[in-house]
């Protein structure tokens, strides 16, 4: 496996505002309407057509874009982009510097043609902001080829037949694309690399707070052409996807050895709808009653290669059918089955397969069957010739599926609606000053600055709570207390009350308490009132309940308890806590108690 090459493209969404308009990156999730669109094929920079674009055009789909509350004319492709989001740019540059990348002198936005509908404009705006960096890993350096700051695409909601529904909520979100060189040694190393990079950005607090904020694409080759695996949803799945892809390519290589590299356009569909008038297959009868037709073809020499151990050519053909909106195919290695049995003798009479031949059945509208036939023949020829280069996508369970041909190099041209953006010294200095730190540096910084234990600092850093910590310290001026509130008091109260903890809300509430009264006892009492009893923060702040007892009040309270005869030196403090709801200083209480009892003695 020495010829295996693995590279990663890690995509991180930055939170805040979108890249080319002032819409927030977050939405309420509601939609106010939808926009119907089609995309047309356009020739690329050199007058050629991009293969991925030609392929998509052949599918002739239409798109409905759901209008989210965080979208505007820019996302609808009804207005040119506004100026570049400088905050996102500076953060992208800062991350670049942390990964030892060199920044470009001039940022030049490009239009990358994407006609699968995921961009209303039909292109994605993208620019290289830095290059030539490296990441140290336990197994050596992994070079960072380039970092791009681009617009995220629209989120796909559903697809039915030739119509795809997208939401505009994600479109235009700043997306940092960090691409490594193919220096990654194996699937385990890929996971480590992705984790290191992801960790740094999560710790910066700049990514969107959403599970989908980080996605990774994996570039892979083992000598049969480059495969780009899009959208691996979880870190651990990187390993699964790579293992799946390695075994898929090994199986294809074996098939090609056995069958030879030639494919003689052997798929030729005939209409066999008549045979299926009374079929027991529900999939087929449903499709036929909606006007589709049943087609069948022999698959010369493919018997036993369609679904047999590691041989899965059936799935490769099903991938083509699926992309044309057909509910997959049925092939000879899995028939009889799926309610198709009684039809088989007549079908074989028509197809007359030889002993080595397989066959397949597909349900499809008549209008596109020749196109599917052509695409299937093309795909078989490509697979047998072991040109396995293509764009694939990752499934939830760690497999990969065909998505489209690899896009060509001519898929980009300059985005002239966005002026060239020279990076001046000031921007770079600002980026340098906010450079994200490693986990270890963050922990020792935090523990040193706020004088908290290393253990507390580590917990705060790992929880992504550094910013929150800073906010707490700013209003209560005490690092230890802040750490205690964040790590103990608030989580405990949240657990007891069953309410979500919202640090912003809590900090706002503490801010209402007069500055000289923000001691531990008062704050903890305030939080208890707020979270357990649902008291309004303003009422809490002006309530006596959070005011510590003065020495006089303390003396009076203790005297009355002594008079009751209900307290002694051992139970004084718990008893007081039970009976007096206001905070007090226990050591002072003990002192006063002894004072009183000593005098009486």
């Amino acid at each position: 496996m020495s010829n295996i090459k693995i590279g990663l493209e890690i995509h991180i969404q930055l939170g805040g505002k979108k890249l080319f308009c002032s819409c927030p990156t977050e939405s309420s999730g509601s939609f106010s309407g939808q926009i119907f669109r089609k995309l047309y094929l356009t020739s690329g920079e050199l007058g050629n057509f991009d293969p991925a674009a030609v392929y998509e055009k052949g599918r002739g789909r239409s798109f409905d874009y759901l209008i989210s509350d965080n979208s505007c004319l820019v996302e609808y492709d009804e207005e040119p982009p506004h100026t570049l989001n400088e905050t996102a740019l500076k953060r992208g540059l800062a991350i670049s510097l942390s990964l030892q990348c060199k920044t470009v002198d001039i940022i030049e936005y490009m239009r990358k043609i994407v006609v699968d509908g995921s961009n209303t404009s039909g292109f994605q705006r993208t620019a290289i902001i830095s290059f030539g960096g490296k990441l140290s890993t336990s197994r050596g350096d992994v070079r960072i080829g380039s970092i791009c700051l681009e617009e995220d695409s629209a989120r796909k909601i559903s697809e039915e037949g030739g119509s795809v529904q997208y939401s505009l909520d994600r479109l235009g979100t700043p997306l940092l694309e960090i691409a490594t060189e193919p220096d990654i040694l194996d699937p385990e190393h890929a996971v480590e690399t992705a984790r290191e990079i992801g960790d740094m950005i999560l710790l910066s607090g700049w990514s969107r707070k959403s599970p989908e904020a980080i996605r990774q694409d994996v570039n892979f080759s083992m000598g049969y052409g480059r495969v780009e695996i899009k959208g691996v949803p979880k870190l651990t799945l990187i390993k699964e996807c790579l293992k799946y892809e390695i075994s898929r390519q090994e199986a294809l290589s074996e098939i090609s050895k056995k069958l030879g590299r030639e494919w003689d356009d052997g798929i030729s569909f005939v209409d066999v709808t008549e045979l299926f008038t009374n079929t027991r297959s529900r999939t087929i009868s449903r499709s036929v009653s909606s006007g589709q037709r049943v087609f069948a073809s022999i698959l010369p020499r493919l018997k036993g290669y369609l679904k047999n151990g590691n041989f899965r050519l059936g799935r490769e053909l099903a991938d083509v059918a699926r992309l044309y909106g057909s509910n997959g195919i049925m092939h000879s290695d899995e028939l009889p089955g799926y309610g198709v049995e009684s039809e088989l003798p007549s079908l074989l009479d028509i197809l007359k397969p030889g002993p080595q031949d397989g066959f397949l059945i597909i349900v499809s509208p008549e209008s596109i069957i020749r196109r599917i036939e052509g695409e299937m023949n093309k795909r078989m020829a490509k697979l047998l010739s072991l040109d396995l280069s293509e764009t694939r996508y990752a499934t939830q369970d760690g497999e990969t599926r065909f998505l489209r041909p690899l896009p060509g190099g001519e898929r980009m041209y300059p985005e002239t609606d966005v002026p060239l953006y020279p990076l001046n010294k000031e921007v770079l200095e600002q980026a340098e000053s906010i450079k994200p730190k490693s986990r270890a540096d963050l922990i020792s910084d935090l523990s040193g600055t706020w004088i908290v234990s290393h253990q507390d600092a580590a917990a705060i850093v790992s929880g992504g709570l550094s910013d929150v910590m800073e906010e707490y310290v700013r209003i209560i001026g005490n690092g230890k207390l802040a750490a205690r509130l964040i790590l103990q008091t608030v989580p405990e109260l949240a657990k007891k009350s069953g309410k979500n903890l919202d640090h912003t809300e809590i900090i706002d509430a503490i801010r209402l308490i007069p500055a000289n009264e923000r001691q531990r006892e008062s704050i903890e009492m305030a939080l208890e009132l707020m979270m357990m009893e649902g008291m309004e923060p303003a009422a809490i702040a002006s309530s006596d309940l959070i005011r510590p007892l003065s020495n006089d009040e303390l003396r009076k309270a203790i005297e009355s308890l002594i008079a009751d005869g209900s307290v002694n030196a051992r139970n004084l403090i718990p008893e007081m806590k039970k009976r007096i709801r206001r905070p007090f200083d226990p050591s002072m209480a003990m002192k006063i108690f002894h004072n009183i009892t000593d005098v009486r003695k």
């Binding site: 926009i35 119907f36 669109r37 089609k38 995309l39 047309y40 094929l41 356009t42 020739s43 690329g44 920079e45 050199l46 007058g47 674009a53 239409s62 004319l73 609808y76 492709d77 009804e78 207005e79 040119p80 060199k102 470009v104 002198d105 001039i106 030049e108 490009m110 239009r111 990358k112 043609i113 006609v115 209303t120 404009s121 039909g122 292109f123 993208t126 620019a127 290289i128 290059f131 030539g132 190099g409 001519e410 898929r411 980009m412 041209y413 300059p414 985005e415 002239t416 060239l420």
Partner: protein, 423 residues
């Protein structure tokens, strides 16, 4: 084919088209030089990205060879369907392509590229007339006349004519053509686009598809075909003298003011919501225009002298007044003098929607008594173009009478709310 030139390569040795390898901040790049200008070398890298590099940060430059020059787009033979249609390309976004070198959108002479994405184009035989492409903001009244003459030739030959036009001033040209054609034997459909056709999301293709369908109809007037909504499935046909660009960037920027459009095209079908003018036996052109007309926007800070200067020596002036058709009373003397000196002063409203009515307030009545001509529901730009047309082709004494006549549907007969998307 790599040609290695040993020794130091100076910036002056590099020119567009060279494939070069160089070191930039420690990384080796290979790319094709697009331009050497403004203190930066602009390259296209093999991954498709462009990179602009200041020459002093480039090191170890090697010239590896030349890229193939971009082949000239072939002018294909236009389609040959059963219906003849003249296509007059004047320029604008719809007849533009991106310049892939600079990325700027430039007009082109060959609109054949539209054919790939316009499904019904094969049903027509296109008779192409390509004018020197112009962005519509650069058009002047002489250009309107040239367009009208060429459109007439296309009409006489093909019975119908489509004009590809930039959107910025398309409604002015539409209005000018409407008045200049006293008779039309077939439809003149102007069509533009708000997104250039190099973009996959361009509106050009559907607009042209619809324009072709509108052309099949019995129409004897000038219309503008543009997206009716921002959806990619509806195109509206607007009457040339009632249409206005009401948004800077939206696909549905063009609106019929005060009523529904003449017709819409949706799902392959044309539906009329008003009766269009019927075609005449032949087309007739009255193609003189008098440029000596002002269009003045009244505002509270406008000085009496300013207005005086804008009206001086003009044969007519269209004022975009406030509300029902008013200007401040301090302008009465200036207006009185201009009218006495022979300038026709016409009142329209900057509200755009609705009619001027100068009988409601004393200001209006005063202006009428001074001799200001109320333009009713006529759009300000249309009133200007109509004045240019009347002044150049009719006796002076009939000006007001002809101006008040509804020549091409420029006056709304009645205004209701039905089908109106802009008041």
């Amino acid at each position: 084919m790599a040609e290695y030139l040993p020794g130091e390569i100076a910036l002056t040795d590099i020119s567009a088209g060279n494939v070069i390898r160089f070191n930039y901040k420690g990384t080796t790049f290979t790319g094709t030089v697009i331009s050497v200008m403004n203190g930066a070398v602009n390259l296209k890298l093999s991954n498709g990205y462009n990179l602009s590099v200041p020459p002093d940060s480039m090191a170890d430059i090697e010239i590896l060879g030349e890229t193939h020059s971009v082949p000239e787009e072939q002018i294909r033979e236009a389609s040959k369907g059963p219906v003849n249609v003249g296509i007059l390309a004047t320029g604008g976004t719809i007849a533009s392509r991106v310049d892939y070198v600079t990325g700027a959108v430039k007009p082109v002479l060959n609109p054949a590229f539209l054919e790939d994405s316009v499904p019904n184009i094969s049903e027509f035989t296109l008779d192409l007339d390509l004018m020197e492409p112009v962005l519509s903001e650069n058009l002047q009244p002489d250009d309107w006349i040239a367009i009208a003459r060429r459109a007439k030739r296309m009409l006489d030959k093909n019975g119908r004519c489509i004009i590809l036009h930039g959107t910025d001033t398309m409604s002015y040209t539409a209005s000018a053509l409407s008045f200049m054609f006293s008779e039309l034997a077939g439809p003149v459909v102007m069509v533009g686009s708000q997104r250039s056709s190099d973009r996959p999301s361009s509106d050009a293709f559907l607009n042209l598809e619809a324009a072709l369908e509108f052309c099949r109809e019995e129409i004897g007037e000038v219309g503008v075909a543009m997206h009716g909504t921002i959806q990619e499935n509806e195109v509206a046909l607007h009457r040339g003298v009632r249409v206005r660009k009401m948004h800077t960037s939206r696909r549905d920027a063009f609106r019929t003011i005060g009523s529904s459009p003449l017709a819409t095209y949706q799902g392959g079908k044309v539906t009329f919501s008003q009766d269009p003018y019927k075609p005449s036996d032949k087309s007739a052109l009255i193609d003189k225009l008098d440029r000596n007309v002002s269009l003045v926007y009244f505002h509270p800070a406008l000085g009496e002298n300013d207005l005086g200067l804008l009206l001086e020596n003009r044969r007519a002036a269209v004022i975009m007044g406030t509300g029902l058709g008013h200007v401040a009373s301090r302008f009465y003397p200036v207006l009185r003098k201009s009218i006495r000196d022979g300038t026709r002063v016409i009142m329209t409203s900057q509200c755009i929607g609705g009619s001027v009515n100068m009988n409601v307030y004393s200001t209006g009545r005063e202006l009428l008594s001074i001799g200001v001509i109320p333009a009713g529901s006529m759009l300000p730009e249309v009133a200007m173009v109509k004045s240019m047309h009347i002044l150049a082709n009719y006796d002076d004494e009939h000006f007001t009478e002809i101006f008040m006549k509804n020549l091409r549907g420029e006056y709304l007969q009645r205004e209701s709310m039905a089908g109106v998307s802009v008041p």
